[in-house]
Symmetry: C2
Subunit: 353 residues, 2 copies
């Protein structure tokens, strides 16, 4: 609990003076002012986040948090629960979507067991931060205790602090957990007050019938557990998930360490929303990687005032959207650092009308 | 003329059977079917374009075509004409936006003088395909003769054929030419029949007053020159530009060689539209890199049925959007080639509802 309070206290809004500092250099570069659009925004933001006129983004890491969900007993997921474990092993062998896209982007992948319902004894390469063997079924009562929820968040801080110390300069978030669009939709509804039907989609591909059931399950669970939308830890404990708590903690830890953090899709953004409610200025450190197909994602982005970088009709999770967005943010930094100025290049910057 | 006819004859629509072949493999991979959205589309399309179940995209090249425009005498551009020459030299020194973004994406940059109003004597690294020293002012008469327009297109084929022979596997298009949004808007209006005011924007950043003038200049030029929207060579000759002709030729040459070609923004898409009118199936080989801020870009993409990959509020040209999009297309190919199948990974593909 001390760690939670300390971390929240360490997060400060970025100093907006850096935006102007960065824009000044951007406007000297050999291009019409503003013509590189959001690439210029990415550069300004990274300068402000790091408080460094000359930011270096060399080592990048993707954290893929895994957890299981008691709520799958209600028939809300397209795949059997065992797939969480199987996919964790797939990640460690390098065969999953996130592995391919992270390699492509030059990003390291760290896979974290936050709450998978399986004992991974002696499995190499897996980071063990297990808080529980799956959450409890929140159709019957809270998914976690308040203490468990805080422990999940604090594990996220630990990760962020450790990788900040090791010299990583950009973080990404990802998730794996069969059934985890259900707690994510429950979190959006609890925090934003929007009707469950407006923020609940088909996840990995359930039928219309299962979607109707999923909506009813969430509506009933919110009535049963009555999470307090203003108390993010309460929401996470009652209708959340272990991997979502880990993501929330990582995002807060990134902000406390002034490291840009690229938020993947629906589940990662639910984690980021928990972080945002705990400390709104944490959003200064977030980049929204993409616009997920999953209904309800945009509601969260709008609530936090984030604009997604990509819109490629994706809905896989794992961090795949974040891995695609990272090189675009880097592109903005490189534009800022590597382009010639009008003066250096002997190009006229006279605007004649 | 023979070369033009031969190239057009060599372009065939892609064989749609390849889409199903590629999708079959995509559906065996360890992800819910379709969950990687447009990345899966990119993979299907590259398989179909190359007619290769196992396409290799290693060497990529960006062609940045430069030309000057007599129409700048009418006060339609924000920068003086000399900036075209200055920027060509900036490209060759590696200091421009396209250099930075191409390096970031692992793409070679080739700069082509198609019609700059400057003699680059002994300048290293510049490809000399000069057809003219700037187009004529099309407010007073045709920008080029029909023969000059065909020569520009044929130079583009030569480039495509040469780089196909050298083993390059993906092409991108880019442009540099002060004033070249004006011919591009004229091309869109002439070919699509849309009002000039709906397809003309502020280019690199002219004033409202200059925009009003630019629209009037284009409207009058279309009345004076009466280009035939069904005869793309006529449109290119009367109200086009040398670099736009080179881009059209490159796109057609890419299609004839079955090489995917990534179209940058507004000016490149005007070139691609010329190619499309000459041979509609050339569009099977095109990827639309991004949605330019420039008004009228979307009109062309819609006319060809292309959906842009990125939307980052950019309007620089040079190939900058294409350089950002290429790694996303490659990401789709890598997903297709490198991800584990359900069977390989021991992951259950049972869908339970």
């Amino acid at each position: 609990m001390n760690l939670l309070h300390e971390t929240l206290k360490a997060i400060k809004p970025v100093d907006e003076k850096w935006y102007a500092v960065a824009q000044k250099r951007l406007d000297y570069l050999t291009k019409p002012p503003g013509s590189l659009g959001r690439l210029e925004e990415f550069a300004r933001r990274v300068v402000a986040i790091t408080g460094n006129k000359n930011p270096i983004i060399d080592r990048k890491v993707m954290f893929t948090f895994a957890g299981d969900h008691g709520i799958v007993a209600e028939g809300v997921a397209a795949y059997p629960k065992e797939v969480t474990t199987q996919m964790v092993l797939n990640f460690l062998r390098g065969g999953a979507g996130i592995n391919v896209l992270a390699r492509h982007a030059g990003v390291e992948v760290v896979v974290i067991d936050m709450g998978v319902d399986h004992v991974f004894d002696g499995v190499e390469g897996l980071m063990n931060m297990k808080v529980m063997r799956g959450t409890r079924n929140f159709a019957k009562g809270p998914a976690m205790t308040r203490e468990e929820a805080i422990t999940c968040i604090e594990k996220g801080f630990e990760l962020a602090n450790g990788y900040a110390r090791k010299g990583y300069k950009m973080f990404g978030t990802g998730d794996m957990g069969i059934g985890n669009t259900t707690p994510s939709s429950a979190i959006v509804a609890a925090i934003t007050g929007r009707p469950v039907s407006e923020v609940t989609g088909k996840g990995t591909g359930i039928s219309e019938e299962a979607l109707t059931r999923k909506i009813a399950v969430i509506e009933n669970a919110l009535k049963l557990n009555t999470p307090d939308g203003k108390d993010a830890v309460d929401v996470l404990a009652k209708v959340g998930g272990a991997e979502i708590g880990g993501i929330a903690g990582l995002v807060l830890g990134a902000a406390a360490n002034r490291i840009p953090v690229v938020i993947d899709g629906f589940i990662s953004t639910a984690g980021a929303l928990i972080a945002y409610v705990l400390e709104p200025s944490s959003k200064d450190y977030m980049f929204a990687a993409h616009n997920s197909v999953e209904k309800g994602h945009r509601v969260m982005l709008d609530a936090m005032g984030l604009t997604p970088i990509l819109d490629l009709d994706m809905r896989l999770g794992e961090g795949t959207g974040a891995a695609l967005a990272m090189p675009l943010i880097e592109a903005g930094i490189k534009i800022y650092k590597e382009m010639a100025t009008f003066q250096e290049a002997g190009v006229s910057d006279e605007i004649i009308n």
